[in-house]
């Protein structure tokens, strides 16, 4: 599936929820399914600085694709992180770099991307794109694209 197909799938899933409780319960559930970061990578270097909840992010590059793992100390943040990873992980650097994450808005989670929510989500997405950008230029330099 492409990044946008996954986003559409998420939007579809969320449209089934009657109220915010169900929505948040689902987010919390997704947090539990997050591909957890290997303990060895849960270091201060891999912390994404958000004001309140901390997020650890690690990226692996395999056969032209990037795979992300992560963790957070807040479960709602963990759920949001899980969603972003579901959308972006396993894709080629160029796709990740150019991805436009419209699902956050569409599933009614926009407030989590605002500056005040300082949950590290915005910085995490930025970090993922930066990683993708770095891998992309490396690929180009090696002539593999």
């Amino acid at each position: 599936m492409t990044i946008n197909e996954i986003q559409d799938e998420l939007i579809e899933e969320f449209s089934l929820f009657g109220d915010w409780m169900e929505k948040y319960e689902n987010i919390i559930q997704m947090g539990k399914e997050l591909p957890l970061i290997n303990a060895q990578y849960k270091t201060d270097d891999n912390i994404i600085k958000g004001c309140q909840s901390r997020v650890w992010l690690h990226a692996d590059y395999k056969e032209g694709r990037i795979f992300f793992t992560a963790d957070s100390d807040a479960v709602i943040t963990k759920g949001l992180v899980s969603m972003v990873i579901r959308v972006l992980s396993g894709h080629a650097p160029a796709e990740i770099m150019n991805a436009e994450l419209y699902f956050v808005d569409k599933v009614g989670l926009r407030e989590h991307l605002s500056m005040t929510r300082s949950n590290g989500l915005l910085s995490m997405i930025k970090q993922m794109k930066m990683y993708a950008m770095a891998m992309h230029s490396k690929q180009n330099a090696n002539g593999t694209v």
Partner: protein, 414 residues
């Protein structure tokens, strides 16, 4: 307080709530429960109307014009200064300096007092309970002057260790700056004792009263405090304006903070003669509208009465503490014997941020995080807390909604 003394005879809450239009807001279809008063309070009609009045009847620059409007604006501006002075019982109007807020007031003192009185090897004392705005300016000063910052420790209830403070006092200490009420924990500090201990050693004291002026009567002369700082926006007044109170004797010895218009008497390219108090510390066109409307906020507070406010808010604090303590796994951070209407807590194994998100869905506004007191959170080894802070327009029914909300969050997040 005797058992017969109920809320009803302290304050008419229904009537008070009607004075604050924003309290009618609906969040996700539910009535807003505003428990983030320590961050910023809401404004009564009296203040909102005063803002309109200012721009429809008075707007003009102050202290400069000879024309009608400028004189009216200046009169209102200076009347507000007198009102503030009376509110905190300052000995002189000109001991009231208008600033942008508590933060700027503290920066002003750290800069101007520090420049004149703090040198290499000297010591500045703050406490473990301070807001970043009463830490960082002193840290910057100490770095600049080669001075040392020392910190009064706290006990596990979040109370200052006065014995330790006593031991810190010697003739290297040039100033003590502590808050009256802790914004994160609600602890009311024994400032009279702190001031008299410092006074005994001839050390001036600055009080950050940002979380005190709106909750209890403050008399700077009775306290015999040297400097005090507070913000209008936390006391039902407009944002962007605050107050520095300073004893005349200190203010006269301190150099200006910023240079510009208003703060000068005469300027030539060779030499500038500074204006007298309070203008020496008020460079540039001030936030005229907010200064004038702060006066309306003080009128409003006085109409209700700070003693009544203190009594009623204490009732809310006791009720909230009682009700919340019945929730399984709750841990209060800050359990001082003497507290203002702030309740800070965590739920076992649950991040404060998660609780805040769920409460927000329920229309309940609390603050989560470190509340700009990171060093304090480090002492308790937590990243932050959920903080509910009450004002006199809050009700026990709203506290019930908070308790239900916290229980619900606890069920969802476990």
């Amino acid at each position: 307080m005797n058992a017969l003394h109920t809320t009803a005879d302290i304050l008419d809450i229904e009537k008070i709530r009607a004075d604050f239009p924003i309290l009618q807001t609906k969040v996700n279809g539910r009535p807003l429960v505003y428990f983030d008063n320590a961050a910023s309070s809401q404004k009564p009609w009296k203040v909102i109307k005063a803002i309109e009045d200012y721009y429809t009847k008075l707007n003009s620059n102050v202290h400069r014009g000879v024309h009608h409007l400028s004189q009216k604006a200046t009169d209102a501006f200076e009347a507000s200064r007198r009102k503030v002075a009376a509110f905190i019982n300052a000995a002189h109007d000109y001991e009231v300096i208008f600033t942008r807020g508590t933060t700027e007031s503290i920066n002003l003192v750290a800069h101007s007092f520090g420049k004149r009185f703090v040198n290499e090897g000297d010591v500045v004392i703050i406490s473990a309970l301070e807001h970043h705005s009463n830490i960082v300016p002193w840290q910057m000063l100490c770095e600049d002057r080669g001075a040392k910052l020392k910190v009064i420790p706290i006990n596990e209830k979040g109370e200052l260790n006065i014995e330790a403070f006593r031991e810190l006092l010697d003739d290297t200490v040039k100033i003590v700056s502590v808050n009256y009420v802790s914004n994160s924990l609600g602890t009311i500090n024994p400032v009279k004792e702190i001031i008299s201990l410092a006074r005994y050693n001839d050390i001036p004291v600055m009080l950050d009263v940002a979380q005190a002026v709106q909750h209890m009567p403050i008399d700077v002369q009775e306290l015999d405090v040297d400097f005090a700082a507070f913000s209008s926006h936390k006391m039902y007044g407009p944002t962007g304006i605050g107050v520095l109170y300073g004893k005349e004797s200190w203010l006269n010895k301190m150099p200006p903070y910023q240079g510009g218009g208003e703060m000068i008497k005469t300027v030539t390219f060779d030499k500038t003669v500074y204006n007298e108090l309070p203008f020496k510390f008020e460079a540039g066109t001030p936030h005229i509208e907010a200064v004038i409307c702060l006066s309306a906020a003080i009128d409003y507070i006085n109409e209700i009465g700070l003693d009544n406010i203190a009594r009623y808010e204490h009732e809310l604090l006791v009720y909230a503490t009682e009700q919340l303590s019945m929730i399984e796994g709750i841990r209060f951070i800050g359990t001082a014997d003497n507290k203002a209407s702030v309740v800070s807590f965590n739920l076992d194994g649950i991040h404060a941020y998660d609780v805040g998100v769920i409460l927000d869905q329920l229309g309940i506004a609390v603050r989560t995080g470190h509340h700009c007191t990171q060093p304090l959170m480090d002492i308790f080894c937590i990243p932050g807390t959920v903080r509910a802070s009450f004002a006199f327009y809050n009700t026990k029914e709203e506290i019930d909604a908070l308790v239900e909300g916290v229980k619900r969050a606890s069920r969802m997040l476990r």
